[in-house]
Symmetry: C2
Subunit: 304 residues, 2 copies
């Protein structure tokens, strides 16, 4: 079995590469960034841009499955550069699918996001919910990518797993609220600015549990295109996370401030709740709750 991982130098890509290697899968990493040092010896590493269609076409041949994990990961950037998500997620996904078609590769695993649901307020989103009205360009690009994957699957006989995950956390993460708080407190241990009122309430998932979900779905899903929510059952708010980071960093007398408004940035969603009945019916049980996932990630990031 040969796997092609886009975004293979990122947090999730690196993790997935290691897991696949443990399962004797041959792995090719395709990323704009340099790969994780350890992986350079274990994988075929291609440094390239998904916007370079020729390079993707010429790199993807001979693989059995594509883990398409590359995307613009910084949701807040969309308001400053409105073309970013269109390019790095929508057009990049088209280039991946077109390259798969030309090389007759029929299996794709895609990480979408809860952003496709838009702002559903307190409603628990189930996969059959609609209309899908994203409030960020990040969400719009994930929705566009889902649509492209669905169309290519039907037209060119591909099989796709589309995951809509909660916030994924773990030792290697390079962005997100946990990472940001740690960086801010490393720069100034007396002050922590929280974007928004800190009541944004979301679910966090330890990366191992995401990988288990992918494995179970690959083993069980028969449909041409499956859409699957992935989240732990509980949610935590950003103020709780801030306090937890401060506690783990053993800081005291940190002055916490909040920026105006309910959300951290234009396009942020204050409350995200995902219904995971579909995945649980396949036998998936997350090992970690949101709180446990954050504690585990903090332990790994801080090395404490």
């Amino acid at each position: 079995m040969k796997a092609f991982i886009t975004g293979g130098s990122g947090f999730i890509g690196t993790f997935v590469a290691h897991k696949l290697l443990q399962n004797n899968v041959e792995v090719t990493i395709f990323d704009r960034r340099e790969p994780n040092a350890e992986l350079t010896h274990l994988c075929n590493c291609i440094q390239g841009d998904l916007l370079d269609l020729e390079k993707v076409k010429n790199s993807i041949g001979g693989h059995d499955v594509v883990y398409h994990l590359a995307a613009n990961a910084d949701i807040s950037m969309g308001v400053k550069d409105t073309a970013l998500d269109l390019q790095l997620t929508t057009i990049a996904t088209y280039n991946v699918l077109e390259s798969m078609r030309l090389n007759t590769i029929s299996s794709i695993v895609f990480l979408s996001g809860s952003g496709v649901y838009g702002d559903a307020s307190d409603t628990q989103c189930v996969e059959t919910a609609g209309p899908l009205l994203p409030v960020s360009l990040y969400g719009a690009s994930k929705l566009a990518a889902e649509g492209l994957i669905s169309a290519f699957s039907n037209m060119f006989n591909m099989k796709a797993l589309i995951f809509r995950p909660a916030n994924i956390v773990g030792g290697g993460q390079t962005h997100g609220v946990l990472f940001d708080f740690i960086q801010k407190l490393k720069r100034d241990c007396h002050r922590l600015e929280i974007l928004g009122d800190g009541n944004q309430t979301k679910s966090y998932l330890y990366i191992d549990d995401l990988y288990d979900a992918i494995t179970i779905a690959l083993d069980t899903q028969q449909e041409a295109v499956s859409v699957i929510n992935v989240a732990s059952a509980d949610t935590v708010d950003v103020n709780w996370i801030a306090a937890r980071v401060i506690e783990f960093m053993k800081l005291s007398e940190v002055q916490i401030t909040h920026t105006k408004g309910k959300v951290g940035w234009v396009g942020d969603v204050p409350t995200v709740r995902l219904n995971t009945s579909k995945l649980r019916q396949l036998g998936w049980v997350p090992q970690y709750s949101s709180k446990e996932a954050i504690d585990k990630a903090l332990t790994e990031i801080l090395g404490v």
Copy 2:
């Protein structure tokens, strides 16, 4: 009131331009094609490509509302040129929205399509249906455009009406099953090839009824983003349409053949049924059934 119509030289765009002019709206048409001869004297006509972002930016300023009607209209082409819908619909829509943002234009009317629902079989699709898994690149690009419109609306305070219409018919149409059958029979009045088994069953709407739906929704919808199905209550199948065209053209002894399979092309959907309760609750009642719409369009196209 000043309106900017993308795709203003097409069938629906030309119709909408005439209607707006009758209501004393100043109209600018933006299209790659030359405008309808009559409209050149009545509107500001700009010949340009929506993929030329600079030109769109420089043309759109000073308008109050954008009727974004331009798109790739030939669904069957997606299988031959997979980039067509991405460019002519998804990226073109991004360019329109980005140009609106830069010129502080906040109102958009968009024609999406039933293609966003994918193949729902006999299910009557309601606007809250999900997941949205298009089976054509046409449907995927309409879904991507909906997502972009929703994100821009939330992030930059725009207001959007998104219509998911049935097949629109009328005298000026330049593509679609009616138009194709007439063209084929004009070339050879003894033979008519139907793509698929002819049992594809869809709803057809006379263009006047679409325009009424837009007017009613503009007057009543308060939400930032509204998604609205538009269709007459009945459906007809393609074999019925073929017989009707032959009758209207006063032909006899036409040998009808069918291509293999249930659908006309890769990405075609055999059965489309749209629930229109939302629009009917706003007071919309179509003047024509699907059968009446086809008869009226045939009369206008053939001048009989």
